[in-house]
C-alpha cells in the first residue's frame, strides 16, 4: 500500500465524509423516532408465541419465514462447498493426552448444546447457539484427527444437513394444508412445534457447520466414529 498514491488519501477522506453523513442520519433517525419501534408489540405478543424468550418468539414464530430461509442459506453454502472439490487432508491424529481431552470435551459440548436448545424457549439460547456447539464438537473431532469429524457417511450426512429445513418447511406446508396458513402455528401446538423445529435445526446446523469445516465433498465410504 503506497501512501504516495493520491487514491490512498482520497478514499479515507471520502469515507470519512460518508461516515459523517451516516452518523447524522443515524442520529436523526434515533431522535426523530417517537414510538417504540416493534419492541412493545413483540413483547406484548410473546405469550401467544409458544416461547417465552422474546428473541426465540421472533426467530421461530413472528419471523419464522426469515429463519427458514436462513437455514436454506446455510444449506446452500454447504452444497457450494461440496461442489468445489474434495475435503482437505485430515489432521494428524492427536497425541494420547489431547485425545483423551477431546474424549472429555466433545460429550460436554453435546450436552451443553442440548441444554441451550432446551433453555432457548425461556432464556437466551436456542437452535443456533446449540447448533454452533454441536458444530464445535465436530470441529474438535476434526482437529484431533478424525477425518470425518464424527459425521456419518455422505448419504446420511445429506439427510442430516437437510433435515432441519425439511421439518421446518413441512410443518409450514402442513399448516397451510389444514387451512391455517403457511407457518401459522395453532397456539396450543406452538410450543411443541417450535421445539420440534429447533431440534431438527440444531442437528442440521451442527452437522452443516462441522461438514463445512472439513471444506469439501464428504468421503464416499462410511467411517463410523465412536
Amino acid at each position: 500500500m503506497s501512501s504516495s498514491n493520491p487514491q490512498a488519501l482520497l478514499i479515507p477522506l471520502l469515507l470519512a465524509a460518508i461516515g459523517a453523513l451516516l452518523f447524522w442520519a443515524f442520529w436523526s433517525g434515533l431522535t426523530g423516532h417517537e414510538g417504540e419501534r416493534l419492541a412493545a408489540l413483540a413483547l406484548e405478543r410473546v405469550p401467544e408465541s409458544g416461547a417465552s424468550n422474546p428473541v426465540t418468539s421472533v426467530l421461530l414464530n413472528f419471523r419464522a419465514y426469515d429463519t427458514l430461509l436462513e437455514l436454506a442459506v446455510l444449506l446452500a453454502a454447504l452444497l457450494g462447498i461440496w461442489s468445489l472439490g474434495p475435503a482437505a487432508a485430515p489432521y494428524q491424529r492427536a497425541s494420547l493426552l489431547l485425545d483423551s481431552l477431546v474424549g472429555w470435551v466433545v460429550p460436554m459440548l453435546i450436552i451443553a448444546g442440548g441444554y441451550l436448545l432446551w433453555i432457548g424457549g425461556q432464556a437466551p439460547g436456542g437452535a443456533f447457539q446449540a447448533g454452533a456447539l454441536l458444530g464445535a464438537a465436530g470441529v474438535t473431532l476434526a482437529l484431533s484427527g478424525r477425518p470425518n469429524a464424527g459425521l456419518p457417511g455422505e448419504a446420511w450426512l445429506r439427510v442430516l444437513a437437510a433435515l432441519g429445513t425439511l421439518v421446518f418447511a413441512l410443518i409450514g406446508l402442513t399448516l397451510m394444508g389444514v387451512g391455517l396458513g403457511f407457518l401459522t402455528y395453532p397456539p396450543a401446538l406452538a410450543k411443541a412445534l417450535i421445539l420440534t423445529i429447533e431440534t431438527g435445526a440444531t442437528l442440521s446446523i451442527g452437522a452443516t457447520l462441522a461438514a463445512a469445516f472439513l471444506g469439501g465433498r464428504p468421503r464416499a465410504k462410511r467411517n463410523a466414529e465412536p
Binding site: 443515524f26 436523526s28 419501534r37 436454506a72 452444497l79 391455517l180
Partner: protein
C-alpha cells in the same frame, strides 16, 4: 386453503431439500419440482391478472410484527417470466448435465436459487429481502463455479464477494430505516418515509448496494467473467434472472419505497450510468472473442437500457405516461430474460458440440446446428430490438417519451445501442453461412434444443405482441 405466494417459495425449497437427501433421484425430483413450481407461478400470475393483488401474512401475525408476501402486477409479470425461463433451463439441464456427477451438484443449488428468485420477487419485507439476496448470491456463485475450471472459481469468488459487499450495504440502509421508522414492511416504511437524512442515506445505501448486484456500469466488472465461465444453463439463469432480480429490486424500491425521495438529478445519474452501460457493454460485446463472453457483455448493455427508463419515469407525470413507460420497461425486461436465456442455452450447445466457443472458429458448427443457430438468431432479434420483439416496442416508447419529455439524448443512446447490438449479433450469425455440407435435420438433440428455441421464439415473437395483457397485468394488483 392453498396460498400461491407461499407455495411459490416453499415448493422449490422442498424440492431442493429432497434432491439434497436423495441425490440419486435428483433429475426426476428436480423436474417434478420445476413443473409444480412453474404451475404455481402461472396460477399466481393469472390470479393477479384477473384483478386481485395477492398478499399473505406468514405466521398469521400480520404486519408490522410478521412478514408479508405480496404480488402486484410487476411482481407477477417477473415471476411468470422467471419461472417459465427456469422451467426451460431445467429441461435443458436434464440434457446438458445428463446423469453425471455434476447433475447431483446442480439440482439442489439450482432449486435453492429458484427459491430465492421467487422469494425475492414476492417479498414485502425489507429484511427478508436481505436474506433472499444472500440466498440468491450464494447459490448463484456456487452454481457458476460448477464448470470446475480455475477461471470459473476465480470469477465466481469475485462475484460472491462483490455480492456480499452489495448486500451488506443494503442491510445498513435497512438498519437506518428501522432506526427511524421502526417497521420493516416495505409499504409501511414507504408510508412513513419523509425526505431527510435518513431517507437519503437509505436510498444511497440500498440502491447503491443493489446497483453493484445489478452490474450497472461501471460496477459491471464482475459480471462478464462470472457469466461467461459458468455452465450454459447456469449462465442462462444468471444473465436472464439473477441480475434481473437485482434490477427488479432497484425498481421496486425506486418506485414504491423512495417515491418522492428519489429526485430527478439522482435519476439522471442512473440514466447516465445506464447510457454508459449500453455503449460500453455493446462495444465490448462487439470485441469479445468468445460467444458466451459476448452474451455476458450484451447483458451489461441490456441492463443499461432498463436504467434509461428511470429518469423518464421520474420526470413523467403520474398516470398514462408513467404507465406506458412502466409497461415498456417490463416488456424490455421480460424480453431480455427470455432472449438471453435462449441465447446462452444455444451457446452451450455450440460449445458442447465443438468443444469451444471462439466466434472466429465457429464456422461449421453454426451451420451444422440449425436449431442452435436459429435460437441465436431469434434471441438476436430481441437483443437488437428488431420487430416484432418486445424490445422493439419498448424502444418505441422509450424513444418517444424521451423526445416528448425533452430528454432526447436517451433516444440517441438507444439508437446507437441498437446499431452496436446489430453489429455484434450479426457478427455471430454471419458464421452460419458458409460452404459446409447441409445439415440433414433441424434438430440434433431435442431435449436441449427445444427449450432454448422456445425461449428465443417467445422473446422475438410473442412477448412484444402480448404487450396489452402485460399492461393489464401491471395495471392490476395492489
Amino acid at each position: 386453503m392453498l396460498d400461491p405466494l407461499a407455495l411459490a417459495v416453499a415448493l422449490p425449497l422442498l424440492g431442493a431439500l429432497l434432491v439434497t437427501m436423495l441425490p440419486g433421484w435428483s433429475r426426476t425430483l428436480g423436474m417434478l419440482t420445476a413443473l409444480a413450481t412453474t404451475g404455481v407461478a402461472l396460477w399466481l400470475t393469472v390470479t393477479v391478472w384477473s384483478g386481485e393483488g395477492l398478499r399473505s401474512d406468514l405466521g398469521g401475525w400480520g404486519v408490522p410484527l410478521g412478514i408479508g408476501l405480496r404480488a402486484d402486477g410487476l411482481a407477477a409479470a417477473l415471476v411468470a417470466m422467471a419461472n417459465l425461463v427456469a422451467l426451460a433451463i431445467s429441461i435443458n439441464a436434464t440434457g446438458y448435465f445428463g446423469a453425471a456427477e455434476s447433475s447431483r451438484k446442480f439440482w439442489p443449488l439450482w432449486l435453492l436459487l429458484w427459491t430465492a428468485l421467487n422469494g425475492l420477487f414476492l417479498a414485502a419485507d425489507l429484511f427478508n429481502l436481505y436474506v433472499m439476496l444472500e440466498l440468491l448470491g450464494l447459490s448463484a456463485a456456487a452454481l457458476g463455479a460448477l464448470t470446475g475450471t480455475r477461471e470459473a472459481a476465480e470469477a465466481n469468488l469475485r462475484y460472491l464477494l462483490v455480492g456480499l459487499l452489495g448486500s451488506m450495504t443494503y442491510l445498513l440502509g435497512v438498519a437506518l430505516l428501522y432506526t427511524a421508522y421502526g417497521v420493516l414492511d416495505l409499504e409501511l416504511v414507504a408510508e412513513a418515509l419523509t425526505p431527510g437524512p435518513v431517507a437519503w442515506s437509505a436510498l444511497a445505501l440500498m440502491i447503491g448496494g443493489l446497483l453493484l448486484k445489478s452490474a450497472l456500469f461501471p460496477l459491471h466488472f464482475w459480471l462478464p467473467p462470472a457469466h461467461a465461465n459458468a455452465p450454459a444453463p447456469v449462465s442462462a439463469a444468471l444473465s436472464a434472472l439473477v441480475v434481473k432480480a437485482a434490477v427488479y429490486l432497484v425498481l421496486r424500491l425506486w418506485l414504491d419505497l423512495f417515491d418522492g425521495i428519489a429526485t430527478l438529478p439522482a435519476a439522471m445519474l442512473l440514466g447516465l450510468l445506464g447510457a454508459g452501460a449500453v455503449l460500453w457493454g455493446s462495444w465490448r460485446a462487439l470485441r469479445a472473442e468468445r460467444l458466451k463472453l459476448l452474451a455476458a457483455y450484451s447483458t451489461v448493455a441490456q441492463i443499461g437500457y432498463l436504467f434509461l427508463f428511470l429518469p423518464l419515469l421520474t420526470a413523467a407525470p403520474d398516470g398514462d405516461t408513467r404507465e406506458r413507460l412502466l409497461t415498456a420497461l417490463v416488456l424490455l425486461a421480460l424480453t431480455h430474460g427470455f432472449a438471453k436465456a435462449g441465447f446462452f442455452l444455444a451457446a452451450g450447445l455450440v460449445q458442447k458440440s465443438t468443444g469451444h466457443d471462439r466466434i472466429r472458429e465457429l464456422g461449421g458448427a453454426a451451420q451444422s446446428l440449425p436449431a442452435a443457430t436459429f435460437t441465436i438468431g431469434l434471441a438476436g432479434v430481441a437483443l437488437i430490438g428488431l420487430p416484432p420483439s418486445g424490445t422493439f416496442f419498448a424502444k418505441w416508447v422509450l424513444v418517444g417519451q424521451a423526445i416528448a419529455l425533452g430528454q432526447w439524448w436517451w433516444a440517441l443512446v438507444a439508437m446507437a445501442g441498437t446499431l452496436l447490438a446489430a453489429a455484434y449479433v450479426f457478427r455471430v450469425l454471419a458464421r452460419a453461412f458458409n460452404r459446409e455440407p447441409t445439415p440433414k435435420c433441424f434438430l440434433t438433440d431435442p431435449r436441449t434444443e427445444i427449450p432454448a428455441l422456445l425461449l428465443a421464439a417467445l422473446s422475438a415473437l410473442a412477448v412484444g405482441l402480448a404487450a396489452q395483457p402485460i399492461a393489464v397485468l401491471l395495471g392490476a394488483g395492489v
